[in-house]
């Protein structure tokens, strides 16, 4: 029973990362019907930028630690958001009306460029996040250990997801984003600037991905240039599980995959987690080809 609850806590922690990163894939897919393969590498980039920022800011010596951490999050999110907007401008916008395959190739190219860029700047070897970024507190509740960082990751992720849900469902721009995902031409006829919508999508997706990347660095501590592919793939699977293009679906998919991986690791072996992940993916796609929450209402013609 202890193992179970412990793995649930671990699963929610990993699930937070998957959910955050999955949202970036899903939002871009929703509006542009494009799989932004470079998203995972943006996540990796954010971990590196975060590490550099932390080292620099902490080195100054006069900024209180909590403020340093907050600054690292804010500045990294801002930088990655700018990168996200540039990525869209350079790699995707020129191909908006080109055949789908061109954009896919461009996405893969962007992914490799960012990955190689990271390797050029920071080298191919593993870099380690300091252990003392966050307080080394942990709580023991009924035989289950929750560390400070786990609690922080889960709470921050849930707050971000609530904010995103409120924004998408209850604001004018959020409604415009949903409309653009359904029919871009009709959205333009409403006076919606679809280019602006796409930019906002990339900004939001990049910010959530940046938070995910920083979580990866702080939680696992070791980062390598190809971490975007490892976590990106899992987050992408989470997005598909939930129904790609569907925002609550990605949240559910992320946590489901996190819990599933953690339980497999707890009861079987972490070496098998990946294989089981694909089995889960295949099973869900057999039962529900559109993913858990994909396309609830068919549009009448």
């Amino acid at each position: 029973m202890d193992i179970f609850l412990q793995q649930v806590v671990n699963g929610l922690t990993i699930g937070s990362i998957y959910a955050l990163v999955a949202l970036g894939y899903t939002m871009v897919y929703g509006v542009m019907k494009l799989i932004n393969f470079a998203h995972g590498d943006m996540v990796a980039l954010s971990a590196y930028i975060g590490l550099v920022l932390y080292t620099q800011l902490a080195g100054l010596g006069f900024i209180p630690q909590p403020l340093t951490v907050v600054l690292v999050f804010l500045i990294t999110a801002l930088v990655i958001a700018i990168f996200g907007v540039l990525l869209e401008r350079i790699a995707y916008r020129p191909l908006r009306t080109a055949p789908r395959l061109s954009a896919v190739v461009s996405a893969l190219g962007a992914s490799m460029m960012i990955q190689n860029g990271i390797m050029l700047v920071w080298g191919p070897n593993i870099l380690i996040f300091p252990a003392d970024i966050l307080p080394a507190i942990s709580w023991n509740v009924a035989g289950v250990t929750i560390t400070f960082i786990q609690a922080a990751m889960i709470i921050i992720t849930i707050l971000l997801m609530i904010s995103l849900t409120l924004f998408i469902n209850y604001t004018k721009m959020g409604t415009a984003i949903r409309a653009s995902a359904i029919n871009q031409d009709a959205a333009k006829l409403m006076g919606i600037n679809v280019n602006l919508v796409i930019m906002i999508i990339f900004v939001i997706g990049s910010i959530l991905g940046a938070v995910g990347g920083l979580f990866i660095g702080m939680y696992y501590r070791g980062i390598t240039f190809n971490l975007g592919w490892v976590y990106g793939l899992n987050a992408f699977i989470a997005a598909i599980l939930g129904g790609i293009g569907n925002i609550p679906g990605s949240m559910i998919g992320g946590y489901l995959l996190g819990l599933f991986t953690a339980l497999i690791a707890g009861y079987v072996s972490s070496a098998w987690a990946e294989a089981f992940t694909f089995i889960l993916l295949i099973l869900i796609l057999i039962v529900r080809p559109t993913g858990i929450l994909g396309e609830r209402v068919a549009e009448k013609v």
Binding site: I182, K188, L189, G191
Partner: protein
């Protein structure tokens, strides 16, 4: 009282290498209902999509209150006062009726209360169904929604692309009556239709498009009685 609102001059529109609109000219005066008729593939939808900025003109001008719309991006054209209810309705199926209507007022700071009241008065069914997903409405109801959504932008010029397409006859009648009321409210209407008879009964003037050319033009009454129009578009009845 014939003040020019929209003037289309030598408009050419291509799809790749295919010329869909081959240099057409027509105009719409303030307060009029002008109808564009024509068979399938004549280029009616292409014309409206180009006016709204969804398609780029190859050459020619679309002057609206003196501004050339061919140089304005689609989302800004709505702000200038041109709204469209597109072919096939294109309501946002997974959004509610109310969300669709509010999106119509996207360019406005707030959805105008009087306009909102007015459209629910025009189409009371939408009021009953406002919490429902738009995709679950009947075809006719979706058409009402598409028109309402366009009206929420408080346009000076309303473009309607085949509002009668695939809709039960009773609802068609209701929608044409609504168009008349909308016009009576001071909105200028450019109505594209294949239902030539109904459209010409409603319109002040009409143009007949034939594979990318304006073939016939004139007062709606004259067109109704024109043997060529009768033969091609009105059948042999009457």
């Amino acid at each position: 009282m014939s003040e020019l609102l929209l003037e289309v001059k030598d408009l050419v529109v291509n799809y790749g290498s295919i010329q869909a609109i081959k240099g057409i000219n027509f105009s719409v005066n303030k307060g009029e209902i002008v109808s564009i008729l024509g068979a399938n593939g004549a280029g009616k939808t292409t014309t409206l999509r180009t006016i709204s900025g969804l398609l780029k003109a190859k050459s020619g001008q679309i002057l609206y209150n003196g501004t050339d719309l061919t140089k304005v991006p689609a989302h800004k054209i709505v702000r200038l006062g041109v709204a469209q209810s597109p072919e096939g309705r294109q309501v946002f199926g997974t959004l509610t009726v109310e969300e669709n209507i509010r999106l119509g007022a996207f360019t406005k700071k707030h959805a105008d209360k009087d306009t909102l009241e007015w459209i629910y008065e025009l189409f009371p069914r939408l009021l009953e169904r406002r919490k429902q997903l738009a995709g679950t409405l009947s075809g006719g109801e979706q058409q009402m929604l598409a028109i309402s959504r366009a009206l929420m932008a408080q346009p000076q010029l309303l473009l309607l692309d085949e509002p009668s397409l695939g809709i039960a006859p009773i609802l068609v009648k209701m929608i044409f009556q609504a168009v008349k009321k909308i016009s009576g409210h001071g909105v200028t209407v450019l109505l594209v239709e294949q239902n030539a008879k109904a459209a010409l009964k409603l319109a002040d003037r009409g143009y007949v498009l034939d594979v990318g050319h304006v073939n016939i033009e004139g007062n709606a009454k004259d067109l109704l009685n024109d043997p060529k129009v009768q033969e091609a578009y009105l059948g042999k009845k009457d």
